[in-house]
């Protein structure tokens, strides 16, 4: 085991957390944000739907799905950038759990 510079370790955590905050902000706007302004937004029509109904029935769910896949992909990219090897993760993980 070798020590990781504190700055490197902190920036790993910061990058992941920053992305998470961005994803949450987008998800929040797509759901709570649209509900909050449902009445003024209902004048816009998209694919036959009033906008607020479209976001509730489809737009928000699609946004959530896309955010989760972006999170999974970006998470992998960040891991690679910091030299994390998934095979080693698996090895370490299977030894570290409390199986009792």
């Amino acid at each position: 085991m070798k020590k990781i510079d504190k700055k490197v370790a902190d920036s790993y955590f910061r990058e992941k957390t920053r992305n998470m905050v961005i994803y949450f902000a987008i998800g929040f706007l797509a759901s709570f944000g649209v509900v909050f302004f449902a009445e003024p937004l209902s004048d816009i029509t998209i694919n036959g739907f009033p906008f607020h109904y479209f976001m509730g029935a489809q737009g928000a769910v699609l946004t959530f799905i896309i955010l989760l896949f972006v999170n999974a992909k970006m998470g992998d990219a960040i891991d690679r950038k910091y030299g994390i090897d998934e095979n080693k993760n698996e090895q370490i993980s299977s030894g570290k759990v409390l199986d009792h």
């Binding site: 085991m1 759901s31 009033p50 998934e86 199986d99």
Partner: protein, 556 residues
């Protein structure tokens, strides 16, 4: 006994045989297989299993109807029950997976180093999962009962025996793979009718794209009738109730023990992250289709049933009138059925669609098998959660830490059988409205587990006194608000009992933080374990420094 009965029965029996076969093939032999399926489930399959675990009989049968009846206000369920996966996958799942335990109470007990917290969490798991499972069992009884025209009680008993058998036998390992099969069956059964309905009504086989036009058209029809438009917001409650309900469903999703434990069955944090993404994709297929079902059914009822002569209603209406799910009384006696003379039960939408669209016996049987798959898969996951909270957290970790693996497995199996039978007995005479009870289970999960888990993962200063205070205050405030709103007529900003989780969670966060700060910090070891959850497996937090485990050695 007609042909329809035989077709439905054989489709259901074939799927039952499939589930039991899978459970026998994947029998759990060790405790780690029984509780967490040996932690080797690939993310895509875990995503399907999460989907089946998550989508209950209520989602399958009732949600489309709820949206049809509530209009825009029903969409709080769609956004709440999908948005919860953001909270779960970002804030909790990978971190809890790295911590590497069997159950949610075990995380709380070990992270906060407190048997009291462990037992409270185990009891909360049992209460939440048990109430939820009563809904599943009576749901499966309704399906069997209605399709075979037998008593719903007999239907419930058939479901109970089946679940008790394969959950006790296969454990988490068997359940995981039956849930994968159940997901495939339920999603096919859900999509086929709505696709054909879209083809017939709009000429486009993609319901998700084509139903928007109908929603717009229905708004015009509603205006002509002088009722509020289908898509008009907040007709059934205040905006604050909508927001509070949506929050409660989201945070409750992230705090339901039987869903969280599914993320323990994969190998790494990365696999947990991907499981969340796949799970929501698979769940989204059903949740995106439910509003389409709602729109198509309402359109058909408005244009083909309402406005026709009471003697000339379409043939399919008769069977549903007979079951009492559809009421067509010609109130003003003019011989024509008006829209406001129709009374529709929300169960009808999905179950009647194959008949409305004239899809034939095979599809009707398939929809029945899909509804059964939804009920059984959720009940199976719930039973594992109950059994592990009792057999692992209370019996093994607190009462008898020296018991052998064999004893523990048999305690776990017997607790499944007993819990299923007990839930089945209550489900024979379900107490009040099931949907109401399910909504309360979410409010309770929001008020108890969500704050305890989020603070446990993200705030190292949170300690055992804090979590005990948080759990008890959250539970107390949630229950108090539910009863005050439901029976006392007390509401804040129009938020009713189903949105109670907002207040429970706020109180629980506050109690946990205040009490933690007033008492001693947790031990250095616990604080380091919490810091360690910020990093992937290969990075280890130790002695205030982060280390790279380059040789992949198992000793840390």
């Amino acid at each position: 006994m007609d042909t329809q009965f035989l077709v439905s029965l054989s489709i259901i029996l074939v799927t039952f045989a499939l589930y039991i076969g899978i459970a026998i093939y994947n029998k759990a032999k060790e405790t780690s297989e029984f509780y967490v399926a040996g932690r080797g489930v690939p993310p895509i399959f875990n995503g399907m299993a999460i989907g089946a675990d998550w989508m209950s009989a209520a989602s399958f049968i009732g949600m489309a109807g709820t949206i049809m009846l509530l209009g825009y206000d029903g969409l709080a369920y769609i956004m709440g029950w999908t948005g919860g996966y953001l909270l779960l996958t970002f804030l909790l799942a990978p971190q809890l997976r790295k911590y590497g335990r069997y159950t949610v109470p075990e995380f709380i007990g070990d992270r906060y180093d407190s048997h009291t917290a462990r037992v409270i969490a185990a009891l909360c798991t049992i209460i939440i999962s048990f109430t939820y499972s009563i809904g599943q069992l009576s749901g499966s009884g309704v399906v069997i009962g209605r399709l075979f025209e037998i008593d719903a009680k007999l239907g419930t008993m058939i479901g109970v025996v089946l679940i008790a058998f394969y959950a006790a036998f296969g454990g988490m390992k068997g359940i995981t793979w039956t849930q994968v099969a159940q997901y495939v069956i339920l999603i096919i059964a859900y999509l086929i009718p709505v696709i054909f309905m879209a083809l017939q009504l709009t000429g486009n086989p993609m319901p998700w794209i084509s139903y928007g036009e109908l929603v717009g058209k229905m708004g015009e029809l509603d205006r002509e009738l002088g009722i509020s438009e289908y898509f008009a917001p907040f007709t059934n409650g205040t905006k604050w109730q909508f927001l509070a309900l949506m929050f409660t469903l989201m945070a409750g999703t992230a705090g339901l023990p039987h869903v969280i434990v599914r993320f323990y069955t994969v190998s790494t944090m990365k696999a947990a992250r991907w499981s969340g993404a796949w799970a929501l994709l698979f769940i989204g297929l059903l949740y995106l289709s439910a509003p389409a079902y709602a729109a198509f059914s309402r359109f058909i009822l408005m244009t083909q049933v309402a406005g026709s002569k009471i003697t000339e209603l379409p043939a399919w209406t008769k069977t549903w009138v007979d079951t009492g799910k559809l009421q067509v009384a010609d109130g003003n006696g003019d011989g024509v059925l008006q829209w406001n003379e129709l009374i529709i039960s929300n169960d009808i939408v999905v179950m009647a669609t194959p008949e409305i669209a004239n899809l034939g016996m095979f599809v009707i049987g398939l929809v029945a098998a899909g509804a059964m798959a939804a009920a059984l898969s959720t009940a199976g996951g719930l039973m594992i959660a109950i059994s592990s909270a009792f057999a692992h957290d209370i019996f093994y970790r607190v009462l008898k830490p020296n018991s052998t693996e064999k004893t523990r497995l048999s305690v776990a199996r017997w607790s499944i059988v007993i819990a299923t039978l007990l839930a089945g007995v209550i489900a024979l005479n379900p107490p009040g409205a099931i949907t109401q009870i399910v909504a309360w289970a979410f409010a309770l999960a929001t008020g108890t587990f969500f704050p305890a888990l989020v603070l446990g993962v993200w705030w190292k200063r949170s300690n055992s006194q804090g979590v005990i205070a948080g759990l008890l205050v959250g539970l107390g405030v949630t229950l108090a608000y539910i009863f005050a709103a439901k029976y006392g007529g007390f509401t804040i900003l129009g938020i009713i009992d189903t949105g109670a989780g907002v207040f429970g969670a706020t109180a629980a966060f506050a109690a946990n933080i205040i009490v933690s700060l007033m008492t001693a910090a947790p031990s250095q070891k616990i604080q380091e374990e919490v810091m360690d959850l910020r990093y992937p497996e290969q990075m280890v937090y130790k002695d205030g420094e982060v280390w790279m485990n380059d040789d992949g050695s198992k000793s840390v």
